[in-house]
Point group: C2
Chain length 155, copies 2
């Protein structure tokens, strides 16, 4: 897919990732050690007695991996994937060591900016799936996208 | 602050972080290389011509650092900080290399579970601030918290 300007985007458009990322147990632990050092992300024994019933990746690890999958996907908005914010971020099931994640998405809304004609905002539902096709994360991203009519390369 | 069970929590309670985390330029680049490899998170020149007007940390880096600040804060819900999901995640201004981040939060809502009396859900507004007291990230977390009445150590 080519670079997508605001004018190229419309509700209902779907996209898929080009890649999978395998979640290695060692990275689950090192990510958690730095950013989310809670027992259920670090220790198998503590994790099995927790709400997760086994070692689980930090949700923020899953979110970060999802961003990588998006950047490498066929979804290429003009100006990059620039999140103004995210809503309805949910982790309906745990990500386990060894899981292989991929993304898929759908454009929900496209809205030109009234104050800044060189850009607009889009809403994109993004699902992250494991190797069994089960959703492990979902969110609605609010992204800033350039208009084709943008005149300055900086805008 | 001690461990907080569902019964200990009430709307309006506020908490603060105990620590700051300094965002090193090298970590901005390595985090982005792994999870968000877009020019404005990697290269000063490209970043200055982008919407960010200078090198900026990935929002997911800020989110992960915020989680670490929360885990190390005085806010210690029973069972750990277990996010069922997050809403209204926003990054109102960029995080720059050298910024020192801290968190503060407020309990917005406390709701026992009807189907699972051993736990409940709370909503917590969390702000991440830089060294100038400016908000660089905000979200509303939906957290699962154990009830004091939980009878099993596993629940």
């Amino acid at each position: 897919m080519n670079i997508l300007y605001l004018e190229d985007l419309a509700p209902g458009q779907r996209f898929a990732g080009n890649t999978c990322i395998r979640i290695e147990e060692s990275r689950v632990r090192t990510f958690a050690s730095e950013f989310d050092p809670q027992p259920f992300h670090l220790d198998e024994g503590a994790a099995s007695a927790s709400i997760f019933r086994g070692l689980a990746a930090s949700g923020w690890h899953t979110a970060a991996v999802t961003m990588r999958l998006l950047v490498d996907s066929e979804f290429r908005p003009a100006g990059g994937i620039v999140g103004a914010g995210f809503d309805e971020l949910r982790w309906p099931r745990p990500v386990r060591p060894g899981d292989e994640l991929r993304v898929e998405g759908e454009v929900l809304e496209v809205r030109p900016s009234k104050s800044r004609p060189e850009q607009g905002l889009i809403k994109v539902r993004t699902n992250t799936l494991n190797q069994n096709g089960e959703i492990v994360q979902t969110f609605v991203g609010n992204l800033v996208v350039r208009s084709r009519s943008a005149t300055s390369p900086e805008s």
